[in-house]
């Protein structure tokens, strides 16, 4: 009876959801506001049209000028203040125009006049002749200057981009002890140039696109043509092309739209703030997606292994790097399972705790009011609060938060008898371990609570079931068609998974991503042996 009722309820809900979906579909996508409109011969109508199209914004500057012998031609420059470089306009447009003396003194022939301006007057490398007004608007909006001439039914878009931008500096989120310190900036071109400077290969393909009806955000795909997997690049491109959205403000938007599993706790698109990381990923056959306006560059496909690889692994000595990588794996396990294990031990399996330790734990538990699960949950939650507060608050306040957090949450909670000391220790080690694997830190905090719940219901059994479920789920995930767990599978090259083998052993690019030109190291003697002789190196790496 109840079953029937519930099933009916669910059916209803599903139906409602579907209805809503179709409603959304019905809603017409916003009509393209820009209708075809060509450049007129009258200067004044062009200018006023342009003004109208830019909704009479006050930062649109119109500059009228006269040129030709005795100033026989009138013209106007239109640009948006702040997006252009004033010196560029003065030096490469205005100054040449004022000294220019048109060759023919006849009635202005529109075509010839414009060509004359381009060929003889202007000193700019990037000039485009346009016939449609919308192009002029787009030009203005991206920092170019539009030049109209009286009597000409065409206009020129002259590149004069020049706005304030942050210079290349050390990234905040990924710091290294050893390795390059430069980081991406908010400027797309700077970012592509940073990658180009790392990979000076003709095969490095750069592809531009604009996404966002309102924001018209420039987005750039970069990949090595001969290495990237054709399936992956096709998937990425088709997904990007389908995007018809209002705004792309950060690469996170793109990430969410093109991900294989957007609802999964595990990230399937990677991101980085460092050009050397991006270059490394590109060299392994991945695609970098650079979005204008953010220093975070996406890399796809992203596999589970990548969470444990850092750039420094490849810059430091192999044994130490391997050790650190194993530590990261252990830390990852600790941060998911430690609270769960503590709960299951103290609630279900007291017999496997050494007797002395059991007494210690039991003594600490004495007089605490909540069950272990609740106690641990409180502390884990408190930690999340402190962490979130620490990130959001301005830096000077952040210190206060950490003091309050450490004192109040840690010490006071224990000495007041609210929670036991072992819980604080467990949560502390859990919290610290989470930072070993930063790219998985969101997924980890969810899984941790799930594991705690399972452990509090069924102890080890629940933990075993939970970890099995996680493994199965990880095995089923894909990133742009590449299995998420590839990189740990036996039939692929494992040199760069659980440990970081010496670089000379990584002869091939990761097979599961790269396609085509797979070999990345020519014939070399491993450094363990002395070089014999150099022969036939470089087979187009």
């Amino acid at each position: 009876m109840i079953f029937k009722f519930i099933s009916r309820k669910i059916k209803f809900l599903l139906h409602a959801a579907k209805q809503k979906e179709s409603d959304v579909e019905k809603e017409e996508p916003e009509k393209k506001e820009i209708t075809k409109d060509s450049v007129k011969k009258q200067l004044s109508s062009n200018v006023s049209n342009l003004k109208k199209r830019l909704s009479n914004s006050s930062d649109l500057k119109i500059h009228y000028f006269r040129t030709g012998k005795d100033g026989c031609y009138t013209g106007a420059l239109a640009f948006i203040d702040g997006l252009v470089s004033n010196t560029l306009i003065t030096e490469s447009i205005l100054r040449p125009l004022t000294v220019w003396e048109a060759q023919s003194e006849q009635e202005p022939d529109e075509e010839k006049l414009m060509d004359g301006v381009i060929e003889q007057a202007l000193c700019s490398g990037e000039i485009e002749k346009i016939l449609e007004l919308p192009q002029a608007v787009a030009g203005c909006l991206s920092g170019d200057t539009v030049l109209f001439m009286e009597g000409c039914a065409s206009a020129l878009v002259i590149s004069t981009k020049g706005w304030d931008k942050r210079s290349v500096s050390e990234p905040q989120s990924e710091t290294v002890v050893r390795g390059p310190r430069e980081g991406f900036t908010e400027n797309l071109r700077t970012n592509t140039s940073l990658i180009r400077r790392k990979i000076k290969s003709g095969k490095l393909h750069v592809e531009n696109m604009k996404i966002g009806r309102k924001t018209q955000t420039d987005i750039c795909l970069m990949y090595l043509e001969d290495v990237v997997s054709s399936d992956v690049i096709r998937t990425v491109k088709s997904r990007m092309k389908q995007l018809d959205v209002d705004a792309i403000l950060e690469s996170g938007y793109i990430e969410e739209y093109i991900e294989d599993a957007p609802l999964s706790p595990f990230p399937t698109v990677g991101y980085t703030e460092k050009p050397d990381v991006a270059a490394g990923k590109i060299l392994e056959g991945r695609i970098a997606i650079i979005v204008d306006g953010t220093p975070f560059v996406l890399t796809a496909p992203m596999l589970f292994v990548e969470s444990f690889q850092t750039t420094e692994d490849y810059y430091t000595r192999t044994i130490y790097a391997s050790l650190m990588r194993v530590t990261r794996f252990i830390g990852y396990l600790i941060t998911i399972f430690a609270p769960g294990i503590y709960i299951s031990l103290s609630d279900f399996h007291q017999e496997i705790i050494p007797t002395t330790l059991l007494f210690t734990i039991a003594n600490a538990r004495e007089g605490t009011p909540f069950p272990v699960f609740v106690e641990t949950l409180i502390m884990v939650f408190a930690f999340e609060i402190i962490r979130e507060a620490g990130i959001r608050l301005p830096r000077p306040v952040g210190q206060a938060i950490s003091i309050v957090g450490a004192l109040v949450m840690g010490d006071a909670a224990v000495s007041a008898g609210l929670v036991g000391a072992p819980v604080v220790i467990v949560v502390a080690i859990t919290a610290v371990s989470a930072f070993l694997v930063p790219s998985q830190s969101d997924s980890v905090s969810m899984l941790r609570v799930a594991m705690m719940a399972l452990a509090s219901f069924t102890g080890w059994y629940g933990l075993a079931m939970g970890s099995l479920a996680i493994l199965l789920y990880l095995g089923s995930l894909t990133s742009f068609g590449v299995p998420y767990f590839d990189g740990f599978s036996w039939n692929h090259n494992l040199q760069d998974s659980l440990v970081r083998m010496p670089l000379w052993t990584m002869v091939k690019r990761p097979k599961y991503i790269a396609e085509g030109n797979i070999t990345r190291i020519g014939k070399i003697d491993p450094p363990l042996r002395p070089h014999k002789k150099e022969e036939g190196e470089d087979e187009d790496l």
Partner: protein, 392 residues
């Protein structure tokens, strides 16, 4: 669509699976009493019942901050009378604020009277229950078991932990110091072997008490029939296999010496003599070191070494032989000769086992000791007062 509904429903049921089937085994630590020792004593009133005493490590709240003074005991002793262990446990569980957590029980102590009366029916639970462990130590108290459990000790406050640490320390000397439930039971199940358990007694007074192992209780079947003294216990341990680091004091007409036995190995051989009796040979190899020395005037170098090794050999042999005589007088096969016999001469064993007691009492034991004395310690000769500085 229908399939989807089914899946959603199944997923919806999943939490119930966890929630409803789960927590039956869940015990928060503050609802548990950690039992660290169990004592069984004979009841004075009737033979059916026994006194059961559970020693519980007292949980004390640390939130108070200050260290508890020694005034109050660190343990709680819970007592009851019952016919069997399980009955007693249930009774205690019913009447206490918390549940007994038994897997951490360190020691089962039997009262002397109970041990003499027979214990087979009393300890069945220790084998059957999932909570009781076979590695629990088994001991016989000199007097009442409860006294050992409730003794206010100076060192470890909980006597269960005291005993388990003491035995752990001893097991470094020899594996044969382990007198655990498992060994006890396997000997008990064996047709001929005698189970053994250390005898533990309380020393000292009031709240400055200590515990002491005072020899071994020798069981025949499930009854305690006698005991070995502490010295005899040590030589019994020697004869059972390999021993590391213990010592032996030897008296000789020229002086006395204490030897550190660095390593001692005993191998046994069994022969059947022509008259049908058994002959057992113990081949003992010992590495000893001079621990203390007094007397032995006039002996130098090789001569001294030879004398001393002879002294050591003699005293080791003597002590092992004495212990064997004691076992024979008790007619208790504490050496597990029966088991060795069964393994080495299964055919003869079949004939012998019927009257093993008879055979055992006629066993001839030949002990061949070989002592190696590689070093004399830091000094060679005994300290002689008033002679050293004359030459200066």
């Amino acid at each position: 669509m229908k399939k989807l509904v089914k899946i959603v429903l199944l997923l919806g049921c999943f939490p119930f699976l966890l929630l409803l089937s789960g927590c039956w085994d869940n015990h928060e630590l503050d609802t548990l009493f950690i039992v660290t020792g169990i004592g069984l004593d004979k009841s004075e009133e009737n033979n059916e019942d026994m006194n059961i005493a559970l020693q519980i490590g007292k949980p004390h709240s640390e939130s108070g901050g200050s260290e508890e003074s020694g005034a109050s005991s660190a343990t709680i002793i819970m007592e009851t009378k019952a016919k069997t262990m399980l009955e007693g446990l249930n009774e205690l569980n019913r009447n206490s604020s918390r549940t007994m957590l038994l897997p951490h029980n360190q020691v089962l102590i039997l009262g002397e009277d109970l041990a003499k009366e027979g214990i087979e029916s009393r300890i069945d639970w220790f084998l059957r229950s999932q909570e009781a462990r076979l590695e629990v130590l088994i001991m016989v108290a000199e007097g009442e078991a409860k006294e050992v459990l409730s003794a206010q000790l100076q060192q470890d406050q909980i006597s269960g932990m005291y005993i388990s640490r003491m035995m752990q320390d001893l097991s470094r000397i020899s594996d044969n110091y382990e007198f655990r439930m498992f060994d006890f039971m396997s000997r008990l199940r064996d047709e001929t072997s005698s189970p053994m358990a250390p005898i533990i007694s309380v020393t000292g007074e009031d709240d400055k008490k200590g515990l002491k192992i005072d020899g071994l209780a020798v069981f025949k079947n499930d009854k305690m029939i006698g005991q070995l003294t502490a010295d005899e216990m040590i030589s019994y341990i020697w004869s059972m296999g390999s021993v590391k680091r213990c010592n032996i004091t030897s008296e000789h007409e020229k002086g006395s010496a204490v030897f550190n036995i660095e390593k001692l190995n005993t191998k046994r051989k069994m022969e059947i003599k022509s008259d049908g009796n058994l002959k057992v040979v113990f081949e003992v190899d010992a590495n000893v070191e001079i621990g203390e020395l007094s007397g032995f005037d006039g002996l130098q170098g090789q001569e001294l070494a030879a004398t001393l090794s002879q002294v050591a050999e003699d005293s080791i042999q003597q002590r092992m032989q004495d212990t064997f005589k004691k076992a024979q007088s008790l007619n208790a096969d504490i050496y597990e000769f029966g088991v060795s016999m069964k393994r080495r001469h299964p055919d003869e064993w079949e004939k012998m086992k019927e009257n093993w007691d008879e055979v055992f009492s006629h066993i001839e034991l030949d002990i061949q000791v070989k002592v190696k004395l590689p070093t004399t310690g830091k000094i060679v000769e005994p300290l002689e007062i008033g002679e050293g500085n004359d030459e200066n």
